[in-house]
């Protein structure tokens, strides 16, 4: 069930002009602050413990959920539910960056007189140190920052400094020079990876057992990985608030105990009986109907920005034939897959998910239409009908693979299902030398709210990599690649969004994927909690600053 964010191996930094991402959609009511009872202790369970308790290294949904309210980057995301939550706003920086005309230089100023939780002053040079750590500690997030001038030389050990970052601890000025303009750079500055940490933090190794002092509303006071961690109010957070960081929400509870619990059903029972206040993962399909029916006053479905799809290797038979790929899209029944997910899947047939800028709903292959699919296959008459279907061994995904395997056999293929362990699945299918890479399961959860985060790693022909490949369909459409490069150089205006929507449709006209759904998550709280205040953030999962007791 874990939705481990896969390491993005593609450089997100590309040619762009402009100041990056503007506001994304309308605003909704703020749910994370103000009013109600304050204080108290909250118990949270997760099926998987955060991969690292370290802002530079963590790259999982669980890790980001915990760390978002512990470490504050220069820019951050608004603490709001829905589309408003994907707006980039100033965090430790006074304002949004000043971007040079050529789009290659970003200037920010750190707010004055802020302190980490241990009383150490937060300095401008701590940002440089954080970026250095990304490279020295081999963070999966380092790829996002390789576009900074001198970053590659630093990573390769050719230089002791990253020449593209200059800071002044007296004035708080931070200047970042990019090799090429990058319209997504504001989003990238808002990722956990870029959160400043003091230079006492180990440069080249993780700090899970002794996390760096906090700059957010909570501080992690105890870690017993991979079992529990304790978060308490950051005693120095008032220095951040006093410096004017109004967009960084304050904690409403005094303490949060986060525990790993591998038994989903036990977690459900715990929340029902109020021994657990919040379970990070959705209840399994087995318990979901009961929870929905009996606890509707403290349970709700929540949107998340992701796309589930079947990839098809467009470079080899039979999926190098457009008609075969179209046939698959006609044949798939999103409702069947929705039931596999226990009713938590919003059906789709396009690349971008709802909530992502550029999303514009359309459906090119109405169905399920097995007759149409069989007709297309008869026209294509593929010579090679022996195909391998790949999926991993997590229960939902195994069932998805079994459904897809059966569907392909019904269409006349001789399909063989390969179910491999979840922890090696993406590295296996991401290695293009693995034999029989024909088709299979995958998903994608956004790293930041920009359509380029979907198109570039997953569909750009330049990003068909021999290992750690994410373009599993091995799509290479030069005209679309050029459009992608052109669009990412521009600000995300309505017109650009429309062009991203057209790009989406263009890929689906080629049926490069067979998308079928966007997974919904849940908020399920104990009876002690203030249900109305708590919400799930589109980027960082549950917002712990929204936790409040009744």
């Amino acid at each position: 069930m874990r939705r481990l964010r896969r390491i993005v191996t593609i450089l997100a930094a590309t040619a762009v002009t402009g100041a990056g991402v503007a506001g994304c959609g309308g605003t909704k009511s703020i749910t994370g602050a103000g009013g109600g009872a304050k204080g108290g202790e909250v118990n949270v369970t997760m099926t998987s413990f955060p991969d690292y308790v370290d802002p530079q290294l963590s790259y999982t949904v669980e890790g980001w959920e915990v760390l978002w309210n512990v470490y504050t980057p220069l820019l951050t995301y608004r603490h709001q539910k829905g589309d408003a939550g994907v707006d980039v706003v100033p965090g430790l920086a006074k304002d949004m960056p000043q971007v040079s005309e050529d789009g290659k230089t970003y200037k920010l100023t750190l707010r004055p007189n802020m302190k980490y939780s241990d009383g150490t002053p937060i300095k401008a040079s701590d940002f440089t140190y954080a970026i250095k750590r990304l490279f020295k500690a081999n963070s999966g997030g380092s790829v996002f920052y390789e576009g900074i001038v001198g970053a590659k030389d630093f990573a390769e050990g050719k230089s002791d400094t990253i020449t593209g970052i200059t800071t002044d601890d007296n004035t708080g000025d931070i200047t970042i020079a990019l090799e090429r303009p990058n319209g997504t750079f504001n989003n990238i500055l808002g990722l956990m990876f870029a959160a400043p940490v003091p230079p006492t933090t180990p440069l080249d190794k993780e700090s899970t057992n002794n996390p760096p002092p906090a700059s957010g509303p909570f501080v992690i006071t105890r870690v017993d990985a991979p079992n529990t961690l304790t978060m308490e109010r950051n005693p120095q957070f008032n220095t951040v608030k006093d410096a004017g960081a109004t967009e960084v929400a304050d904690a409403q509870v005094d303490k949060i105990l986060v525990s790993q619990n591998k038994n989903n059903s036990a977690q459900v029972t715990g929340v029902q009986q109020n021994t657990i206040d919040f379970m990070s993962d959705p209840p399994d399909a087995d318990r979901l109907p009961e929870v929905k029916a009996k606890f509707s006053d403290r349970f709700r479905m929540e949107d998340s920005i992701n796309t589930y799809y079947f990839w098809m290797n467009t470079q080899k038979a039979p999926f190098n034939d457009l008609k075969v790929r179209q046939a698959i899209n006609y044949a798939i029944d999103p409702e069947a897959l929705n039931r596999v997910f226990g009713g938590r899947l919003h059906p789709t047939q396009q690349i971008l998910p709802p909530g992502m800028p550029g999303y514009d709903e359309y459906k090119l292959y109405p169905g399920p239409d097995m007759e149409k699919a069989k007709q297309l296959l008869a026209e294509a008459n593929p010579a090679d009908k022996d195909i391998t279907v790949w999926t991993d061994d997590e229960p939902d995904r195994k069932r998805i693979g079994e459904y897809y395997h059966d569907l392909l056999n019904q269409l006349g293929f001789n399909a063989e299902l390969k179910v491999i362990a979840g922890d090696v699945y993406f590295t296996t299918i991401g290695n293009t030398s693995t034999p029989d890479l024909d088709t299979g399961f995958t998903d994608w959860f956004q790293d930041f709210p920009h359509p380029d985060d979907f198109f570039r790693p997953l569909l750009n022909g330049e990003n068909i990599l021999p290992t750690n490949n994410s373009n599993f369909s091995q799509v290479k459409i030069p005209a679309n690649d050029a459009t992608m490069d052109k669009l990412v150089e521009q600000q995300l205006t309505d017109d650009v969004r429309k062009q991203y929507a057209e790009l989406d449709k263009s890929y689906m006209e080629q049926a490069v994927w067979a998308p079928y759904g966007n997974e919904q998550f849940t908020t399920f709280l104990s009876d002690r909690m203030n249900f109305d205040k708590s919400y799930r953030h589109l980027l960082f999962s549950q917002d712990y600053t929204s936790f409040a007791l009744k």
Binding site: A285, A336, R339, G343, E402, Y403, L417
Partner: protein, 335 residues
């Protein structure tokens, strides 16, 4: 158990002309519990062998066919095979979905029958492999002794040193992706031969050791010396003199080994290292079903019950067989 000692007291003329096999069969027939469980096993085997007939003429679906969005009429009402919340229908008195459906809308009865075929098939074939290898290794080690015994025994020790389940998981997960390639022999990762070979291999020491022990004792007997004196070669002595003397032990071991194999297959399949999806075995059915133990307990209970019944029947029948074949057993013929 029947009262002992009557066989010894029986008039000699009554038993003259009856072979040891005949005597064993007579003893076995007296053990009605063993016979009962033997019949139960046969019924289970027949039930499983009838899977294609049931699938074709009653359920009208195959074991791997998904029917997630299909509907079925129950009590005059059209009902989803799998609800919109993902919960499958349960058992009921009807041809299709007699034992309900699983989360992919597959007919549990059909999968149970096909799964049984798979489990029994693996259990029996793995037992044959174990038996053949164990008898060969045990006889060679016991007959030749010396360095042959030392080498073979150490190899067995190495296999023995690994917990059976861990060894099975390690081999199963390794071979699942790339399959097995030995010389010209190619076995794909999804083949049933992968769990058969794994299970067949890991239990070899458990049978080879007792066989070796018996051969070590038997080769010192006078009839072996007589055979050597007659000029019989080692192979002939092993096959014609020693093997018949250990055959009852081997048969009993083999029977009990089938039960152990089926248990190991279920455990490996449950852990994802045995039978590969979407193929059904009782172990994979439990693995698929335990996720819905609250709302669809039949998915776990039904295959679990079949494993219990099959293993119990084989164990009780195997015990009866041992009692019948072993002349030192407490059971004796009554007159």
């Amino acid at each position: 158990m029947a009262a002992p000692t009557t066989e010894d007291a029986a008039p000699t003329a009554d038993v003259e002309g009856r072979s040891p096999w005949h005597l064993a069969w007579a003893r076995l027939r007296r053990n009605r519990i063993a016979i009962g469980f033997g019949v139960l096993f046969l019924l289970i085997a027949v039930f499983c062998l009838a899977a294609p007939l049931w699938a074709e003429y009653v359920a009208h679906t195959g074991p791997n066919q998904n029917h997630i969005t299909d509907k079925i009429t129950i009590d005059g009402r059209l009902t989803n095979v799998v609800s919109t919340d993902g919960i499958p229908i349960g058992p009921g008195l009807r041809g299709r979905y007699l034992l309900g459906a699983d989360q992919n809308g597959r007919d549990v009865m059909v999968r149970l029958m096909y799964g049984g075929r798979t489990s029994i098939y693996i259990g029996v074939l793995a037992a044959v492999i174990t038996t053949v290898l164990a008898v060969v290794v045990g006889m060679l080690a016991g007959y030749y002794r010396g360095w042959v015994d030392a080498v073979l025994s150490r190899i067995l020790d190495v296999i023995w040193a690994f917990p059976v389940l861990l060894l099975g998981i390690a081999l199963g997960t390794t071979l699942a992706l790339g399959g097995l390639s030995i010389g010209g022999l190619q076995i794909t990762g999804n083949s049933l031969w992968i769990p058969i070979l794994i299970i067949g291999l890991v239990y070899v020491p458990y049978m080879a050791r007792p066989v070796r022990g018996e051969i070590l004792a038997l080769r010192e007997k006078e009839f072996v010396e007589a055979a050597v004196a007659q000029g019989k070669g080692p192979l002939r002595i092993m096959v014609s003199e020693l093997l018949p003397n250990i055959i009852s032990t081997v048969i009993v071991f083999c029977t009990l080994n089938i039960a152990n194999n089926m248990l190991l297959e279920s455990a490996l399949s449950f852990l994802g290292a045995g039978v590969r999806p979407p193929n059904a075995s009782w172990g994979t059915m439990i693995a698929d079903g335990y996720q819905t133990i609250y709302t669809a307990p039949h998915l776990t209970i039904v295959p679990g019950l079949m494993i219990v019944l099959t293993v119990l029947s084989l164990n009780v029948f195997g015990d009866g067989l041992r009692d019948a074949l072993d002349p030192r057993a407490t059971i004796r013929l009554e007159r």
